[in-house]
Amino acid sequence: MGKKITLTLRVWRQQNSQAEGQFATYKVTDIDTDMSFLEMLDVVNAGIELQSGDPIAFDHDCREGICGMCGAVVNGQAHGPDRGTTLCQLHMRHFSDGDTLVIEPFRSRAFPVVKDIAVDRGAFDRVIQAGGYVSVRTGQAPDAHAVPIAKEAADKAFDAAACIGCGACVAACPNASAMLFVSAKVSHLNLLPQGQPQKDSRVFNMVNQMDSEGFGNCSNEYECEAACPKEISVQNIARMNRQYLKAAIKNEG
């Protein structure tokens, strides 16, 4: 059974992408430690609504840690203090009575703020559009057993494919680099036989799109891996760098 705690929230409030933002302070009492972080925000917002104020905007949908919609930086950590956990799966038992929580959006030049904690991650979609697919049309596929895939390769591809596209890696990186996201996407397909025919153009185009979206460079800080709720490995970055180099050389040749 959860206990009740009292917290001070310092929340980033920003009307829209153009407006200036600032922190606002909220004192919240009677927070049941069995609540999830987002349920705690629901309670705060219900209070604001009852006073006809402006509730805190935040993105969320599945609340099961899989859709990648939620996310905030809590006391400097993307998705908060619990490792391998999205904000929606973070429970208030990880906080203590009297704590102050500083809650900010995932900040990056490539992620404009929509309102308060909600940001626009359309840049990720555009990176995928540049090559995050196998160009097979509906109905063209051979029998699923036509190409056996070694279990290890399939498992490795799966590990990379588990990325939920939340953007925590970007928020955690001092340079706001998207290398972990992009490399996970590249690795997922480039590790599989189905991904081979387009492997060079894929890595080349996706990396170039990433650069043009305004994400920063990777300087091997590994903060991304630590913040990733799905614990995607930075090995994907090394793999992508090798593949990119090869593809770039081929592209010039």
């Binding site: 905007a57 949908d61 559009q129 056996p148």
Partner: protein, 642 residues
């Protein structure tokens, strides 16, 4: 003017069951390849059905406008499906076939699905797996590098393909990647963070939609030659469900108000293995894949109100009630049966945990038999999730579970072509009613979503476009003006109420009424009462809700208010349907219709039909149309899992 069909013609092709789809494909009209790009198709929703349909229609050459409520099409709620996807591949050589999958699905649906649709789904199930593998979906594989299968949800063959506990995610990422490929090519235009608020009907045909841009608040008009709805189910009418927070009935309800029939709305699926409610703050429920029932054993104490720690209750004082009641299927009985049995035990006073609304799901003997590592390899992510939420360790003490609303078999009525009675309006995936009858089998939702999206709608929409005689129209048409005015008027009205209660407060109240009186068990008296209460809540909503903020901004309260307002209208339709169907079948249990042992009792003589409701005005009883279900192949029997 296109004549709206008043009767129900399901347009099932002639011929033997196994040849219907093939011959229908041959008989369909084709659009000349050069003409395809002149046609515009709107697809609302980017889950498995919508994403797959939008991508496939773009590949065929149509201009596709794709809309989603989230910030990216990759976040649609299909992503949360855990367990797997069925396909009649018979890779395990255990006797599976198209016919068996077809038969199991019709039977599992308690004989309330249309045979021809189900047969088609079983046929194309095989193509789905091929397609997904070609896209790079990393399904589980065995050491030989071939695809692994498991038996799932009571099936007696292993036909379920899976990707750890994240099958929905991986399939959705596959459909999303196909969609992104087509966006890049220019065939699909993506509209994210848009909510559909009305359907536009011109000359008797669905020709467009009104959406609200959720970031700017701008209300937009979009025109097309056909409209596909792939907007999911209405489980959130119960407030607490395993659906995502934004899942709603608005899009399909607005189509209904424009003339599309709503079919079998009372058929809702309550999933047996969810994490129990912990308190009033609860915003949603979390499902754990029922694959857990393959190794977990379900029990309650034999003694009422037994407060001992589960590990202190000796073996002979535990009631493994599913194994006791259903020796042949044991813990693997279908979802509806497992859910009701849990409710029965809890209602009788044998429930466990703080709220007494839970039963144990115990892995003790499986761990003893197979070892902790084997269990971890199979269910590690689920155990991890459970531990995070409940703060107890399922490796050392039993999990607690309770049923929760999970899926809705009902939806907009469609014919064999997935077209509603409103010409030009196609409905795909969970949003339609077509394939699961009164109860959906595990791992069949993903199959249906992708089947509709990849392999059915792209062809049947083409067939419609080839034949349809569409009038010239633009977004200045009267119908667009009227629909937009309706949408903005409703938004202004909600904002002007400035009452004293929050939107969620009303939603919660509605949810409780629906759960208590139109949930796992229903009876005439309760349904009558529910109807009164829903009307009361709706009246109060329009008098006393406080929708803060403005229309011209990112306003999540306003978004929710619109959805709750529609749930409050829709709930009535659901209650009418539940009251009308006086038999028990599948997920619909009428207390008046049960056997002496408390099992569901179907009434084929009087209720072998699909109910399709026609809108007659808010607060007015809708008109019932019946589509008689004819069974040519499957023999009707009372389901028995003893």
């Amino acid at each position: 003017m296109a004549t709206r069909k008043t009767g129900l013609n399901s347009n099932i092709p002639d011929g033997p069951m196994a040849e219907k789809w093939e011959s229908h494909k041959f008989n369909m009209k084709l659009v000349n390849p050069a003409n395809k790009r002149k046609f515009n198709v709107i697809v609302v929703g980017t889950g498995l059905a919508g994403g797959a349909a939008a991508a496939s229609m773009s590949e065929l050459g149509y201009n596709v406008q794709s809309f989603c409520i989230q910030d990216s099409p990759r976040r649609a709620h299909s992503i949360a499906a855990q367990g797997g996807i069925n396909a009649a591949k018979n890779y395990q050589n255990d006797g599976d076939s198209v016919h068996r999958l077809f038969y199991d699905t019709v039977k599992g649906g308690d004989y309330r699905a249309r045979e021809a649709n189900v047969h088609r789904l079983s046929e194309i199930s095989r193509n789905i797996i091929d397609q997904c593998v070609a896209q790079g979906v990393p399904f589980a594989r065995d050491y030989g590098g071939l695809l692994d299968n498991r038996s799932f949800g009571g099936a007696q063959v292993s036909r379920t393909f899976y990707a750890r506990g994240q099958t929905g995610q991986q399939l959705l990422l596959g459909a999303y990647s196909a969609l992104m490929k087509e966006v890049n090519k220019g065939g699909v235009t993506l509209h994210t963070r848009r909510e559909m608020l009305d359907l536009v009907v011109i000359d008797g045909r669905a020709r467009g939609i009104i959406v609200r841009n959720l970031v700017t608040g701008q209300v937009e008009r979009h025109i097309a030659d056909a409209v596909c709805m792939a907007t999911g189910g209405y489980g959130n009418v119960f407030y607490l469900s395993t659906n995502a927070m934004a899942s709603n009935v608005t899009a399909t309800w607005r189509c209904h108000k424009r003339g599309a029939y709503f079919a079998n709305p009372c058929f809702t699926q309550i999933h047996p293995t969810c994490i129990p409610v912990s308190g009033d703050h609860q915003s949603k429920l979390t499902l754990m894949s029922e694959s857990l029932r393959n190794d977990g054993r379900i029990w309650v104490p034999k003694k009422k109100d037994d407060d001992r720690h589960p590990n202190d209750i000796p073996e002979d004082e535990r009631d493994y009630y599913l194994e006791r009641r259903y020796p042949a299927f044991g813990n693997l009985v279908p979802r509806d049966v497992a859910s009701r049995a849990a409710k029965e035990r809890c209602d009788a006073g044998y429930g466990v945990g703080q709220t007494k609304k839970a039963v144990y799901l115990d892995f003790g003997s499986a761990i003893e038999r197979l070892g902790k590592d084997a269990i971890e390899a199979k269910y590690g992510n689920l155990f991890h999730m459970y531990q995070k939420i409940m703060d107890t360790n399922p490796y050392t003490q039993p999990m607690m579970i309770y049923p929760a609303v999970h899926y809705t078999m009902g939806g907009l009525w469609v014919d064999y072509n997935l077209m509603s009675n409103l010409p030009g309006l196609f409905v795909l995936g969970e949003a339609n009613f077509s394939d699961h009858g009164a109860n959906r089998l595990g791992a069949s939702a993903l199959m249906q979503g992708l089947g509709d999206g990849y392999f059915v709608a792209p062809l049947t929409v083409g067939n419609y476009l080839a034949e349809a005689d569409l009038v010239d129209a633009d977004t200045e048409d009267e119908a667009f003006v009227e629909a937009e005015e309706g949408v903005t008027g409703r938004i202004e009205e909600m904002l002007s109420i400035k009452g004293s209660r929050t939107v969620d407060d009303f939603h919660r109240e509605l949810g409780l009424v629906m759960w208590d009186k139109c949930g796992m068990a229903r009876n005439e008296r309760g349904l009558k009462q529910a109807l009164k209460e829903v009307r009361q809540i709706r009246a109060e909503f329009w008098e006393d809700v406080n929708v803060v903020g403005t229309e011209g901004s990112f306003n999540q309260v306003l978004e929710r208010a619109g959805r709750v307002a529609d749930f409050l209208e829709f709930a009535e339709c659901m209650i009418y349907d539940a009251a009308e169907r006086k038999e028990s079948c599948g997920g619909h249990f009428r207390e008046e219709s049960q056997t002496e042992e408390g099992e569901a009792l179907r009434d084929d003589k009087n209720f072998s039909f699909c109910s399709a409701w026609e809108f007659k005005g808010v607060g007015k009883k809708p008109k019932l149309h019946k589509e008689a279900l004819k069974f040519e192949v499957v023999k009707l029997t009372q389901r028995s899992y003893k």
